[in-house]
């Protein structure tokens, strides 16, 4: 491969990721932008000012809600999904096929049906319009992915590492903390991020179960888009994307470090 090719490839990737954001940036910085203008006819910071002043409180609370929801969902999804993935990846047990079916079922059934169906139950159980209820409905989407990621991780995992650590004097707890966790850490990171981002971008399920009480960023975003104020919607979109992008960049750095290849 010649020298310019990797650079061209990198440039291509960066461009294809960045270009879709360009209209958003332009919209958010425009005051007037009508057809057929290629650029906004009038530039201005009205949208951002609106975001910081008038809608500031709302946006901040949406951001806080979304972050809290996504973090809680990712955490629960890992707590349940990591042991489940381990069981599927390492052990043969009675009813394994059924367990797998139950795990994928929420992905096969359309999310609208899941949310509508659960809504009735959640009302009876007092979970509708609550934070916990929204976490639960987000889990129906996030948990299968976490289980699948961790299943793959544990399918390539050698439990003899744990046996080795045990006979070197590590207690069961020390093995989990000092051996298992570092060995599957990249998988946990990926699964956790996946859950976080999936939860972060949920709209429909949040709307149905949250009933307008749990106001996440996507809910606010849709409301603003509906209002027809494009510059403000564009600015909110950017606020919405920024944390996700940040999280991905940080984790990519972490995952790309290499040195995690095991010696067996």
């Amino acid at each position: 491969m010649t020298r310019w090719r990797p650079k061209a490839l990198a440039a291509g990737i960066i461009l294809s990721v960045a270009v879709p954001f360009l209209p958003l940036v332009l919209w958010s910085l425009s005051e007037r932008w009508f057809f057929p203008g290629l650029w906004p006819q009038q530039w201005g910071l009205r949208a951002w000012q609106h975001l910081l002043d008038a809608a500031g409180g709302q946006i901040a609370s949406g951001l806080a809600h979304s972050t809290a929801l996504a973090a809680a969902t990712a955490a629960v999804s890992l707590v349940v999904g990591v042991p489940a993935g381990r069981a599927l990846g390492l052990y043969a047990f009675r009813g394994k096929a059924l367990a797998v079916l139950l795990v994928v079922l929420p992905l096969i059934v359309p999310p609208l049906s899941v949310a509508m169906g659960l809504h009735l139950w959640f009302i009876r159980l007092g979970l509708a319009e609550t934070f916990a209820g929204v976490v639960l409905v987000h889990l129906t989407v996030c948990l299968p992915y976490t289980v699948f990621v961790m299943w793959g991780v544990f399918a390539n995992y050698d439990p003899d590492f744990e046996a080795q650590a045990r006979c070197l004097g590590a207690s069961a707890l020390a093995v989990a903390w000092r051996v298992t966790l570092p060995l599957v850490w990249p998988g946990i990171l990926v699964a956790g991020l996946f859950s976080f981002l999936l939860s972060w971008s949920q709209y429909l399920s949040t709307l149905i179960i949250g009933g307008g009480r749990v106001l996440t960023l996507p809910i606010l975003l849709f409301a603003l888009m509906g209002s027809g104020d494009r510059p403000v919607a564009a600015a909110v979109s950017l606020v919405f994307v920024a944390p996700a992008l940040l999280v991905l960049l940080v984790s990519a750095r972490h995952l790309g470090r290499g040195g995690l290849m095991g010696v067996r």
């Binding site: 003899d160 080795q164 045990r166 006979c167 290849m261």
Partner: protein, 342 residues
């Protein structure tokens, strides 16, 4: 330092026991090989000693104390697996010091002991390397160092050489032997390679079909096999029977003294190793005539199949002059014939 004793051990995973009624003692400072074909249950035994499997019956004693109720981390036993299993998230020194860290030793003491063991195992200067930056032989040595640094009462080695190529394997055999001699750590070494077992250990225990068939020095197992199966495992191919008369086994290949077997009239089995069969062009004293049916050149020796009146004889000879169809004389030297106890 310590001795290991297994008493009437029965082990298994499913309804069938893999190992039955196993009794075995490894003396303090001894290197004992547990030899057997794949699937004989060797690794299962090591896992039971290490504490990963609970025996269905019997006891494991270390230094005379039963350890069956102790979890793996509280037995003074360290197992080295077939794969090096070095933790990829630690460097070489971190791996070797792992057990010491689990004991809660202070960093200075850990560093001192790790450095000492790395000198002993020829890993000096590699402590800061990542585990995938050292060679396969070095990885296996690091795995061994990680076990030895804990000065275990008993060291369990589960075919630690089988993943290495032939050249490196030979070096590692000598290395393990030398380290064992220096540290005098009681060692139970599992292998399916009879050459490895005979070469490396003070005593060998042969496991066939889940049962210990014979335990003894390498020479005893090789030259005085307890039964035909043991002889067959070590390459025995010639088995013949005869009648006992006054302490002599009378066979189609001659009369052989059989001191262990004195019951007249029974028909015990006897064997002779292929390389002990003597061949001559002409009949002589105590010889039996036969015809060569097949030859196979094996490098250092040629294997010859000879049809005699008493049956088919396999001989291994450094001479390569014999050809199929040739007639020759076969001699079984009496001191090389092993008569099995009836």
């Amino acid at each position: 330092m310590g001795d290991l004793r297994l008493e009437g051990l029965a082990l298994g995973y499913g309804p069938e026991a893999v190992v039955r009624d196993l009794t075995l003692s490894v003396a303090d400072g001894e290197m004992m090989s547990l030899l057997g074909p794949s699937g004989a249950g060797k690794t299962t035994i090591l896992r039971a000693v290490a504490g990963f499997i609970r025996p269905r019956a019997g006891r494991v004693l270390i230094d005379g104390r039963p350890v069956d109720d102790l979890p793996p981390e509280r037995r003074a036993v360290v197992m080295v697996f077939q794969k090096a299993l070095l933790f990829p998230f630690l460097d070489v020194a971190g791996n070797i010091g792992f057990g010491l860290k689990m004991q809660g030793l202070d960093p200075g003491e850990i560093r001192r002991r790790v450095d000492a063991i790395m000198d002993l195992t020829g890993l000096a200067g590699l402590g800061r390397r990542k585990v995938h930056e050292i060679s396969g032989g070095q990885q296996q040595r690091a795995a061994l160092a990680r076990a030895l640094v804990l000065q275990p009462a008993v060291l369990l080695l589960d075919e630690p050489l089988s993943s290495l190529d032939a050249n490196l394997r030979q070096q590692m055999r000598e290395f393990i032997q030398q380290i064992q001699a220096e540290t005098r750590v009681t060692t139970l070494f599992v292998t399916h390679d009879q050459g490895e077992a005979l070469m490396m250990s003070h005593r060998v225990s042969l496991l066939l079909g889940g049962r210990l068939r014979q335990t003894g020095t390498p020479r005893q197992l090789f030259y005085r096999p307890a039964d035909p199966d043991v002889a067959r495992f070590f390459g025995g191919e010639n088995f013949f029977d005869g009648r006992m008369e006054n302490g002599l086994l009378k066979t189609a290949f001659g009369d052989f003294p059989a001191p262990d077997t004195e019951n007249n009239g029974r028909r015990p089995l006897a064997t002779i190793r292929p390389e002990d069969v003597r061949l001559a062009p002409e009949a002589g004293n105590g010889s039996v005539m036969g015809e060569v049916t097949q030859t196979r050149f094996e490098g250092m020796a040629t294997r010859i199949w000879i049809r005699c009146d008493g049956g088919l004889v396999v001989a291994l000879t450094p001479e390569s002059r014999w050809t199929a169809g040739q007639r020759l004389a076969v001699v079984f030297p009496p001191d090389k014939v092993r008569v099995f106890p009836a």
